[in-house]
């Protein structure tokens, strides 16, 4: 198809630079510099999509970021598909592939369009009332069907193969919006020497100068001035220009999020380049120059392809050289649409008629239109349009009623006036104020160090805007602390100025007939829907918005919010400010997940922590489990073994001979200083003052509320030095907890805390042969039971390396924990492994560790406790220093509820069938025959098969559990009920003889 609608001599693109692209498979051509929208229009294509709810044919409404209709899918390959791309924003590149959305089987024949005929069923709030019966059908039938029929593009089904990057930046003055005002502000700030960033969402700076043909600045036409000035800024070292960059969010303390589209306009992007780059800019001052957005007219069937904003048609003509039609109608309540008619007429396009809702339009543009013999119908309204896939005519009528007249057109331009873009100002928590005279919301009270200039500030006319912006830019630089240099203020010699326009529905929008006069194109919200919402009791605009979904689509109501508000206000018979304006929220336009996540994907999503012995475990076939950020060896299967077999073997081997276990992930904190013992007394329930150097104690840490927070073995290395271990998961928060008390509650104590978790690799050697395994490698430590009893710690050497050697056990068998500097972890492990081999020892993982400790009833904080368990509940009263007068939690654990009878206590559970292994988390009841919901008296916290016991074992928290020992309780499962006997918590070696065995 030829570019039939490109007019020679119009626009700024170069005719020789052609690009090929496809739309729904059809081969088309455009020019370098086109957007997808301008290229489609150049080929006479208006129909580009189907609407969200009614599947109505839709065209291109705008020429910018506010586009609600022309959403397409753009794909490069299977892993680079982007749905809901605004055709007005997507720059054309050679080979671009675009597809229309929300239609089946084709764009021109869409089965879903039956929704349009059935539209009475889909009025505002329909999903709250229409499909309510029968209840079950909502979930299984109505909702899936409605979701299938409604909607826009299809989400990609493969991971995005593009990558995204992020940068932080600081500047003195950040100018958001690169139209005339933004450029002038940036220029003024830059001339002082301030560090300036100027950002604009479009490919080229210039904003409304793109279409405003009448502007002359510093002797040049507006567009040329903009390009020349931007070139000047680009040459300055203190200026950063960010084109194709949208400021999407304005956060606290002048922190602005921007996203730069780096390669979306490139035919074959360099795969080393990110697709998008997130900029997080902290600015001393922000200048908002975000412009204004034209509103459409609200009348019946105002959504047919070919109906568009007047400024958009002007942009397509003056910038892209594209005529949006050959016989064009104009419907307006505002002067600016006249300029579009005049430009098109001068370019040789027939203007069928201008229909002006105002009674006596006057002014320079009106006169010019008359002089060009354009028919002007004032005091009249367009009451409907015709045409299935493209507008074919408009029907007009005097606005107070009377004879209708139908005028054939192939495009209809509309303008109800301009809405200042106060989005970013509002996001900065500034308060907008309604200006009665001009019927628009403007920046009122500022909350941050920013200023609005130009159209977004309600400043009308290019000359006034540039003047205001230049002054604001210079002032912002000064306020940012930059001593002034000085430049020359741009002089605006000619500009256009527009009068106001209207808010709300025109005469062709009802009242309350079946006509569809669209307010929000993207969410298919009509004037009637908003009136209905008010009739059904919605009073606040926030309620109207949610009930109708007006302004809730991805365009966030850029064209629809003010109309919706005005219609609601009129129906409520209240002034607009009393009905209120909905809050503007980030993002200004849709932002990809990719840019937000940027580098934080895959391996960079979260740090992975590996112990010093990780490589050995990997080489020996370990299966790993994630414990927080740690990778821990879970079990070491041998050939032919499943997890169950491997764990059974490891458990048996440890108790029969010995096992090596990597315990490096335990948190380790060194508490040092003259008051170290006093500090320990306050942070742990246990007494520490009398613990002799060289001995260890199992410590329990409470929160102030009296519940168990952490536990671990603590070794006293010297009078003033403790080696504290914490749970793997608790390491960081225990350190924070300790620091908090040391710094703010007990600052009088002279003690220091150092996290040494990663300094020490820890190899647990457990089992009857453990001493034999370490003995040949240890120097300077007497390992005899007399010299080094259970729960003691010694410093010496192992394999020639310094060690802190703990005699301790988390298995119930004789055991040691060998701490060595992490760098030597693997070497010492390998030496111990070699010794272990001589005794038939194995390496065991976290699963066997869990089973072995459960056989002994040793708790795991966070598994057998859950933040509501006291020492007494866990059977650990013995660890609370009875004579102590203060420790964290001492008061909390005395609270009435914590000492009440009937609390859940930790007990052992043996299933009647020894082969049956309970599910962790399963609930426990006393009477299985009671009606549902049953009274649950406890739950299973730990449950395993114990090969050493030859049966299953479990721990659980049961109300009044210790008084129930010997009783039978029940664990109801979906398919059966399991009988369990309540027992003590120790299943193996109840006398504890094996610790010295």
């Amino acid at each position: 198809m030829a570019a039939t609608h490109r007019i020679a001599g119009q626009g700024r693109l170069t005719p020789a630079k052609t690009l090929r692209f496809t739309f729904d498979g059809q081969q088309l051509t455009g020019l370098e510099g086109d957007t997808l929208a301008s290229a489609l229009l150049a080929n006479g294509v208006h129909l580009v999509g189907r609407s969200f709810k009614y599947h109505r044919p839709r065209g291109i409404l705008s020429a910018g970021a506010e586009e609600p209709n022309a959403l397409v899918g753009v794909e490069r390959d299977a892993t680079r598909k982007t749905p809901n791309v605004r055709a007005t924003v997507q720059e054309l590149y050679d080979g671009l592939k675009a597809n229309s959305q929300n239609r089946w089987p084709s764009l021109s024949f869409d089965v879903g369009a039956v929704n349009d005929l059935a539209s009475p069923m889909f009025s505002a709030g329909f999903y709250y009332k229409t499909f309510m019966w029968p209840k079950a059908a909502w979930k299984n039938f109505y909702e899936p069907k409605i979701r299938e029929a409604a909607g826009l593009g299809v989400a990609p089904d493969q991971p995005d193969s593009d990558h995204y990057s992020a940068r932080y930046e600081h500047c003195d003055v950040l100018v958001l919006g690169g139209g005339a005002a933004g450029i002038a502000a940036a220029l003024a700030a830059a001339e002082t020497g301030a560090r300036v960033i100027l950002a604009d969402e479009q490919a080229e700076f210039g904003g409304a100068l793109r279409f405003e043909a009448g502007a002359v600045i510093d002797g040049a036409d507006g567009w040329s001035w903009a390009q020349a000035t931007v070139a000047k800024l680009a040459a300055m070292d203190n200026v950063r220009l960010l084109s194709r960059t949208t400021a999407f969010g304005y956060y606290a303390q002048n922190f602005v999020g921007l996203v730069e589209r780096v390669t979306d306009h490139v035919a074959s992007p360099d795969r080393d380049l990110p697709r998008e780059r997130l900029w997080q800019v902290r600015a001393k001052r922000v200048v908002l120059a975000s412009g204004a957005i034209e509103r459409h007219m609200v009348f019946a069937d105002n959504d047919r392809p070919g109906v568009m904003l007047a400024s958009a048609a002007r942009t397509y003509l003056n910038h892209y050289g594209v005529a949006v039609g050959k016989n064009v109608g104009v419907y307006t309540a505002n002067d600016s649409a006249y300029a579009a008619a005049i430009d098109l007429k001068k370019a040789g396009v027939n203007i069928a008629a201008i229909v002006d809702l105002r009674d006596n339009p006057s002014g320079e543009l009106v006169e010019q239109a008359r002089a060009l013999n354009i028919e002007i119908n004032h005091g009249r309204a367009v009451i409907r349009t015709a045409g299935r896939l493209r507008i074919s005519s408009m029907t007009i009528q005097p606005k107070n009623g009377g004879g209708e007249r139908t005028i054939p057109v192939d495009a209809l331009l509309m303008s109800a006036g301009w809405t200042p873009s106060v989005h970013l100002f509002s996001q900065s928590r500034g308060k907008v104020a309604f200006d009665e005279e001009t019927k628009r919301f403007l920046p009122g009270a500022y909350a941050q160090d920013c200023v609005s200039v130009g159209a977004c500030n309600g400043t009308d006319g290019l000359s006034a805007s540039v003047e205001e912006a230049y002054a604001a830019g210079a002032k912002a630089a000064k306020e940012a602390g930059v001593k002034a240099g000085k430049g020359a203020k741009p002089k605006v010699e000619a500009s256009e100025s527009w009068s106001r326009g209207m808010l709300g529905a025109g005469p062709g929008a009802g009242p309350d007939t079946t006509v569809k006069a669209f307010v929000d194109f993207q969410n298919d919200v009509t004037a009637k829907d908003i009136r209905l919402a008010v009739r059904e009791g919605m009073r606040s605009i926030e309620h109207v918005k949610r009930f109708t979904t007006n302004g809730m689509a991805t365009d966030q109501g850029k064209t629809s919010n003010m109309h919706g508000l005005a219609i609601a206000a009129e129906t409520l018979d209240k002034p607009i400010p009393q009905v209120g304006l909905t809050t503007f929220r980030a993002p200004y336009t849709p932002v990809t997940f990719g840019s937000i996540v940027n580098h934080g994907r895959g391996a960079l999503f979260d740090p992975t922590r590996k112990t010093a012995m990780h490589g050995w475990a990997e080489a020996h076939g370990a299966v790993f489990e994630d414990v927080g950020q740690w990778k821990r060896a879970w079990y070491f299967p041998r050939a032919g073994e499943d997890m169950h077999a491997a764990v059974n073997r490891e458990c048996v081997t440890v108790r029969k001979s010995a096992g090596l276990f990597d315990a490096s992930t335990l948190g380790k904190i060194e508490v040092v200083g003259p008051d170290a013992a006093k500090f320990m007394e306050l942070l742990y329930t246990n007494p520490w003052e009398k613990l002799e150097p060289g001995r260890c104690r199992y410590g329990i840490m409470l929160r102030e509320d009296g519940f168990i927070y952490d536990d671990g073995v603590v070794g006293r290395l010297a009078a003033d030095r403790f080696h504290v271990t914490t749970t793997t998961g608790g390491a960081a928060r225990v350190m924070n907890h300790m620091e908090d008390y040391l710094q703010t509650e007990f600052p009088h104590l002279n003690a220091w805390l150092t996290s040494v978790s990663e300094q020490w690799a820890v190899i647990a050697v457990q089992g009857p042969n453990s001493r034999k395994i370490i003995e040949p490698l240890v120097e300077g430590i007497d390992l005899s039971d007399e010299a080094m009893p259970h729960m003691s710690v010694r410093e010496g050497k192992i394999c020639g390396v310094p060690t802190r050697l703990f005699r301790m056990s988390f298995t119930g068998d004789r055991g040691f924990e060998v701490n060595v500097p992490a760098d030597y972890g693997q070497a010492v492990w390998e030496a111990l492994w070699a010794e272990g081999q001589k005794h038939g020892a194995c390496a065991y993982g976290t699963e066997a560790m869990h089973v072995l400790r459960a056989e002994k009833g040793y708790i795991i904080v966070g598994q057998d406790t859950d933040g509501t368990v006291t020492c007494n509940d866990a059977g650990l009263d013995w660890a609370v220093g009875k004579k102590k007068t203060d420790f964290v939690g001492i008061r909390g654990m005395m609270r009435p509820d914590l000492i009440a009878k009937g609390r859940r206590q930790l007990v052992g559970l043996k299933t009647k069938d020894p082969k049956e292994v309970l599910e962790e988390g399963a609930q426990i009841v006393a009477d299985p025959k009671q009606p549902i919901p049953m009274k649950m008296i406890g739950h299973v916290t730990s449950s395993y098969w114990s090969e050493n016991c030859g049966r299953s074992i479990a721990l659980g928290l049961v109300a009044g559990g210790r008084d129930r020992v010997g009783q039978t309780l029940y664990v109801p499962m979906p398919d059966r009920t399991i009988e369990v006997e309540v027992t003590g918590t120790v299943f193996f070696d109840e006398k504890g003889e094996r610790l010295n065995g």
Partner: protein, 129 residues
């Protein structure tokens, strides 16, 4: 993202480096074991949650690791000031005089000024922190 001035580093740093640590000037009794249930409830559970000025604790966890105190407006999120742990609670009327309406001060729930038994050894408490 907020910028927070660490009174120890004497620098404004991004919020990412800090962690909030709850309300400030809540003193842990030096004889906590003897506290009544009511007093313990006030100390441990009850927080002011004001709309307006709040005194709160922060930790420069990814910096100097020190806990310090801050005065912040919960409506605007703006920090009025930060100060070191152990320094006395600032006089709200005085600090708000310059740029805030008196109404803001009225919204503040005057933190129960726990009668702290001035234990001789106790240089500072979370209360003063």
């Amino acid at each position: 993202m907020l910028l927070i001035r660490c009174p120890y580093c004497e620098e404004e740093r991004p919020e990412l480096e800090f962690r909030n640590a709850g309300e400030a000037h809540i003193a842990r009794s030096t004889n906590i074991a003897a506290e009544s249930d009511e007093d313990f409830e006030k100390f441990f559970f009850i927080r002011s949650n004001p709309k307006g000025i709040i005194f709160e604790r922060w930790r420069h966890i990814h910096g100097c690791a020190r806990f310090f105190n801050a005065v912040r407006d919960t409506v605007s999120d703006k920090f009025v000031m930060t100060y070191k742990a152990g320094e006395p609670k600032p006089d709200l009327a005085k600090i708000m005089k310059t740029d805030k309406p008196a109404a803001v001060a009225a919204e503040v729930d005057p933190q129960e000024d726990k009668t702290k038994k001035p234990a001789a050894k106790r240089a500072a408490q979370k209360g003063d922190a």
